[in-house]
Amino acid sequence: MNTINFLLCGVGGQGVLLASTILAKAALRQGLDVKGGEVHGMAQRGGAVVSHMRIGEKVYSPLVPMGQCDFLVGFEPLEAARNAHWVRPSGLLLYNTYRVNPSTVAAGLAEYPEDLEQQLAQFPCRKRMIPASDLAQKAGDIRAANAVMAGALSRHLEFPLEVWERAVAESVPPKVLEINREAFRLGREAGA
């Protein structure tokens, strides 16, 4: 099996980390090697966050090489567009349609681009929009959008459903497990 490369990107505070944890745990249960990592710190304060995740028989580097990403999971449309060039032509880009203003837009120093869809059209990979924040709201908490995105991604990997469900259960606090389970399920439905 070739190494599969994932990038999860979004805004600090959106739970990019949790989604990558779910993915990593699921891959481990499948007996695969996993490496990946993210940068946090200042980025947690509403800045851009990118998490790399790589799955395969033996993985050395935790970082995805440029242009070799198989799955880009964008938690926010602008961040999806910012990272779209990492994706292979044969890759898939899943993105949440819910906008989060960058501070530069909130401060009136820049405009949120209205033509993101056209911008994304330039990239040859397949694209799928997921109304993840709305679905999370439906599941009970807008903050569960990360579980929705994990659910949407799960549709495209051949891991058994139980493996995913276990990974979710092991990754989220018991208090919010039900909401996250439901969010994952809604994402899995929407991700096809």
């Binding site: 990592g37 304060r45 440029m66 910012r82 990492w86 203003n101 501070s103 909130a106 009136g108």
Partner: protein, 586 residues
């Protein structure tokens, strides 16, 4: 059993498996999660604490090691500068229980103020250094570090980088090595008391240890030869190994885990078996220079790989294998997304006022450093932890003759940073007759690193109750005049402005304290605010507070300010800025 662990989780696990019973740290990205994981998963067996700064963290760990416990001190790279004083002498005293100092370096400064390569500390302080290259090694090498520490009676530097600390990988976990609890406290004055007469004979002993460690490294499994195609021999360590191994898996590798002192014989032998030697490493030519000094010819090192910033796997692939992946151009013209103060953050209003007052703001390290970014642009210098007050003092001394109020200085510092090393700066200022205004923004937590306890929060890392150090009383005791110690509400912009103006007009030091807690850590959320579209004139004044809950929505005449209720915490700062009363509680 196998688990997916973050590098920092693996280090915490390694400490537990090694039988560590004492751990201390000051939070700093990318090192923070090590102690947080020790607290969360192993505090039954390991006593752990946040210390006010890295120097005290290392000193308490030295004490614990002298008492016989395996002890861990953790910090980010710049923290080692603060701890350098005890470090350089702990090498002289040696230890009793093992002592490991984790230095988490941050190439590319993802969240730091400089890009120093702390491998240089190993050489400078004459301390052995281990460098893991993934989570599994982070755990295994930490155990090895304790063994080396005890075998050679020396502290050990455990050097990681952001990509190790914050990378996840599969780790085979093991069980804990139970070690007997020390029952006696032997007196050994000559070993632990560094008077010149006792310290002088120690230096040759340290040199002998380093010579022995060189030998040790030749056969230690920490250093590994992976022979492949002998036309290319790569010497590397840490995360660079991962990039190089992926780029040219068939080449020959000398993968170093013990990177100071270097195993000379092993390097010479490896070089003899390959046609050419290439050193792959991030930042400084630390390995390259030492290898060259052995007389071993290095065909490539820093002439190929950058001395600045993180190594990028694509660059390693290109330089080693000549493979260049075609990458389409990134989408152009997208707005950047820099970090920003959280919606409802108590620092926001203060920076709005500071900007208005146009004074020189000397800043410190923490969330409030974001006050330097647009639209505030209200911080004019920021050097290091605790440097705000002392820099302001220096500036105010030089500008003493000026009568222009714009030449007055305000130092801005958080509670955790004040306890870290701001307090000594304040003593300096009071003692030497300074006249700056010091704003201590006490948000009751170490916010930037994710919300760790401070000496002011009344709780320790392990959850025990502690006396709350009262900053107000403390600064009074230090000698700030009672009339010059003011407590203000950070959300009341008028009050902040009035008080700051009053204190700026005084010829002596003042301390203005805010006590409003970090919204993120205390999950503060009042009813969100709402913009009345009738009253909003689209003047964009509210946007000047730089809150991501706010934006302009709609086209043409319909364009009005708007607040996303999912983000707004109802802090009212934007409504105080609006001249048309267009923002009200929903």
């Amino acid at each position: 059993m196998k688990e997916v662990l973050l590098g920092n989780e693996a280090i915490a696990r390694g400490a537990w498996e090694a039988g560590v019973t004492f751990a201390a740290a000051y939070p700093g990205t990318p090192s923070t999660e090590i102690l947080q994981n020790i607290k969360a998963d192993y505090s039954k067996d390991i006593y752990c604490q946040w210390s006010p700064n890295e120097k005290t963290a290392l000193e308490v760990a030295v004490g614990a090691a002298i008492a016989g416990a395996r002890s861990l001190a953790c910090m980010k790279h710049v923290g080692v500068n603060v701890a350098a004083d005890p470090l350089f002498t702990a090498v002289y005293t040696g230890i009793r229980g093992g002592l490991v100092l984790v230095s988490a370096d941050d190439p590319y400064l993802h969240s730091s103020q400089n890009e120093q390569d702390n491998r240089n500390y190993a050489k400078f302080s004459k301390i052995p250094m281990l460098e893991p290259s993934d989570s599994q090694e982070a755990k295994d090498f930490l155990k090895a570090a304790f063994e080396i520490s005890e075998q050679f009676d020396t502290p050990v530097l455990f050097r990681t980088t952001t990509r190790i600390n914050h990378s996840k990988g599969v780790v085979e976990v093991g069980s804990r090595e139970e070690r007997p609890k020390p029952t006696d406290l032997p007196r050994d004055v000559k070993k632990y008391t560094m008077l010149p007469g006792f310290a002088r004979p120690k230096h040759p002993v340290i040199e002998e240890k380093l010579a022995k460690l060189k030998e040790y490294g030749v056969t230690s499994p920490l250093n590994r030869v992976e022979m492949g195609d002998t036309s290319l021999g790569i010497i590397t360590s840490g995360i660079s190994y991962a990039y190089a191994k992926e780029a040219v898996p068939g080449a020959s590798f000398l993968k170093l885990g013990l990177t100071y002192p270097l195993p000379e014989a092993l390097i010479r032998d490896f070089a003899q078996h390959v046609d050419r030697v290439v050193v792959v490493e991030e930042l400084d030519p630390f390995l390259e220079e030492q290898v060259r000094l052995l007389g071993v010819e290095v065909s490539h090192g820093k002439d190929l790989f950058p001395i600045v910033g993180e190594l990028e796997p694509g660059v390693v692939l290109e330089k080693l294998a000549g493979v260049k992946t075609a990458v389409p151009a990134a989408a152009a013209g997208l707005p950047t997304r820099p970090p920003v103060m959280c919606p409802g953050c108590s620092h926001r209003g203060v920076f709005h006022v500071l900007k208005k007052l146009k004074v020189f703001v000397s800043g410190d390290i923490g969330c409030y450093t974001l006050g330097a970014l647009p639209p505030f642009n209200a911080m004019h210098a920021c050097l290091c932890m605790g440097g705000s007050i002392t820099m302001a003092h220096g500036i105010s001394k030089v500008m003493a003759g000026s009568t222009d109020p714009l030449n007055r200085t305000v130092a801005v510092i958080g509670d955790s940073t004040f306890f870290h090393s701001g307090i000594t700066g304040l003593i300096d200022m009071i003692w030497n007759g300074g006249n700056s205004v010091v704003m201590i923004q006490d948000n009751r937590i170490t916010a930037m690193t994710g919300g760790q306890q401070t000496p002011g929060t009344g709780q320790t890392l392990m959850g025990a109750e502690a006396p709350q150090i009262d900053i107000e009383k403390l600064v009074l005791t230090l000698g700030v005049k009672p009339a010059n110690v003011r407590v203000v509400n950070a959300y009341d912009l008028k009050q902040v402005e009035t008080v700051l103006k009053e204190e700026l007009s005084k010829p002596e030091p003042s301390v203005v304290i805010t006590k409003d807690p970090c919204v993120l850590n205390y999950r503060i959320k009042d009813r969100p605010m709402k913009v009345d579209p009738e009253a909003c004139t689209a003047c964009k004044q509210c946007l000047q507070v730089s809150c991501i809950a706010l934006s302009m929505q709609g086209q043409g005449d319909e364009r009005k300010a708007s607040i996303d209720p999912n983000f707004c915490t109802g802090c009212t700062v934007c409504s105080q800025v609006c001249k048309f009363d267009a923002i009200q509680q929903a």
